[in-house]
């Protein structure tokens, strides 16, 4: 056992100290970055090392979805694709984007609501649990880029010179899902039925996003609705930077970055405000 040390500044808790939302939350997460790293590693090892399928396990969902959609929709939508756009990479990138989104968001909310026994007893910023799952989701997504690249190469395409920009996409999606995951965590703790409702919502969202159809195949009014969905912009950006298999407008880039920043700030702010009330009830 170590001997008692004089208190350093970090070890003094003063409830009257001023807390600036977002900034003190980010500082708090940064101060515990070694815990964050450990939680990300835990997430990945539990998923990869301990299962027979290993890394394929997390890729199974997007790959199977892609396979089914490919056989069902190939004949319908292939002809409607813009010239130069290949259907299979289009479909696979859409599915990978959707999987990244829904898994990171729901798992961030799960991580917080399932750690209640720790979070009500030990001082750990709950945001760390949200960050750790969305970062792990980002790593999973990057693994998923391997089959996508293989499919592109199969068609004789290269990821292209814009490929490094995929990191901006990953960063935006991580912030976006962290913000939404924090909001969802509040719902998970408050309402028992929010899990099943989010399941229905995600299924609808799957069809409200151009995962397996080109936007141009829709009528002008429907197109406008679909473009309101920020995920549409995310998907367009991903397809454009990785393999140049779709076009992203400047508007898509702006909408993606703006929605990520705004949702992240709203999620962090609202979570900070609501969390004490939840802990009191847990």
């Amino acid at each position: 056992m170590d001997s008692l040390k004089p208190f350093d500044e970090l070890d003094v808790y003063d409830s009257a100290a001023r807390e600036v939302p977002i900034i003190s939350q980010l500082k708090g997460v940064y101060a515990r970055r070694s815990l964050l790293r450990l939680l990300v590693a835990r997430d990945l090892t539990v998923r990869y090392k301990r299962s027979v399928l290993g890394i394929w396990w997390t890729l199974l969902n997007p790959l199977l979805t892609t396979t089914v959609f490919f056989f069902v929709f190939n004949t319908v939508f292939k002809a409607k694709m813009a010239t130069g756009t290949l259907f299979l990479p289009y479909l696979l990138s859409g599915t990978l984007c959707m999987t990244f989104f829904s898994q990171a968001m729901t798992m961030a909310a799960d991580a917080i609501s399932q750690s209640a026994s720790v979070l009500t007893k030990v001082y750990v910023r709950p945001e760390i649990f949200a960050f750790s799952t969305t970062i792990a989701g980002a790593v999973n997504f990057l693994f998923g880029m391997a089959p996508l690249t293989a499919v592109l190469l199969f068609y004789g395409k290269l990821p292209g010179y814009k490929a490094p920009l995929v990191l901006i996409f990953v960063l935006c999606m991580t912030l976006f899902t962290t913000g939404l995951g924090l909001l969802l965590a509040i719902a998970y703790v408050n309402f028992d039925d929010s899990r099943s409702i989010i399941g229905i919502f995600l299924m609808l969202l799957q069809y409200m996003t151009p995962v397996f159809y080109p936007i141009t195949a829709l009528g002008p009014h429907t197109q406008r609705v679909i473009k309101l969905n920020p995920l549409t912009s995310y998907m367009q950006v991903l397809r454009s930077v990785w393999g140049n298999n779709g076009t992203a407008t400047t508007g898509d880039w702006i909408y993606m970055i703006l929605s990520a920043v705004v949702i992240f700030i709203i999620g962090m702010f609202y979570f900070q405000k609501k969390w004490p009330g939840l802990v009191a009830k847990l």
Binding site: L4, V12, S15, A16, R42, K121, V122
Partner: protein, 246 residues
């Protein structure tokens, strides 16, 4: 160096709660349409003030729902008080439900790292503590298998050994542990005593008045969030008894 570990000045903790606990979105939507949501202010803690010095053991007693666990949460920094001010100095070690921070799929060694990091210790420091912790918990041969395969006694041993590995400035105990076989119970009781002797302040929440008599230097008796009596253990316990049998 200050000798005061906890300084609580007039802290209160209030939250809004619905009169009938509603926990489905559907019900909430229906109620808000019918305007049936009734909120009330609920004071889990009401104007609590106290000071705890280095080496002192404070016991908190009271009926269920009197605010004992809320008080621990405020001291542990998990819940900020809605008014008043609390200052806590030093490394705080909460003895949480044993194994609460564990991941069943990870090995014993990985869980020591994770649990230690959750309690606020650095990962590099924890790496060097894996061996000694496992040795104390008599789990050295089981370090590389997933905790899923452990018995509940083994999980409790590992959790206790990790939580008490570093002597804290403040130890928070919610109900004294009574896990494992007799040998381990004695060993863990001895270790808790060691921590207390090494100068750690202790906040102990329990219903077991015998333990309070044996361990506490001071007692506070909470009733509906207010301090009903505070001070000498025998007197406060007597006051609590009088209220219970009235």
């Amino acid at each position: 160096m200050s000798e005061i570990i906890i300084e609580a000045d007039d802290i209160s903790l209030a939250y809004r709660r619905t009169r009938h606990r509603v926990n489905s979105l559907k019900q909430t939507a229906i109620n808000s349409i019918k305007r049936k949501m009734q909120h009330e202010e609920f004071f889990a803690l009401n104007n609590v003030s106290l000071q705890l010095n280095k080496g002192e053991t404070l016991a908190v007693i009271g009926r269920n729902g009197a605010g004992k666990s809320t008080f621990l949460k405020v001291v542990a920094r998990v819940l900020p008080p809605t008014s008043g001010r609390i200052i806590v100095r030093g490394h705080v070690a909460p003895m949480i439900e044993l194994g609460a921070g564990f991941n069943m799929e990870l090995t014993g060694a990985e869980n020591i790292l994770l649990y230690g990091a959750l309690l606020g210790r650095s990962v590099s420091e924890m790496r060097s503590r894996i061996e000694p912790i496992a040795e104390w918990a008599r789990l050295t041969e089981h370090l590389d298998i997933p905790v899923r395969a452990y018995s509940s006694g083994m999980v409790a041993r590992l959790a206790f050994a990790t939580a008490t590995d570093k002597s804290p400035d403040l130890l928070l105990i919610d109900e004294v542990l009574s896990v494992g076989d007799e040998e381990f119970r004695d060993k863990s009781a001895a270790r808790t005593q060691d921590l207390m002797d090494s100068g750690a302040a202790v906040v102990l929440v329990t219903h077991d008045l015998e333990t309070v008599r044996r361990m506490a230097d001071r007692v506070i008796y909470l009733d509906q969030g207010r301090v009903r009596a505070a001070g000498d253990p025998e007197q406060v316990i007597q006051a609590y008894h009088d209220d219970l049998h009235r």
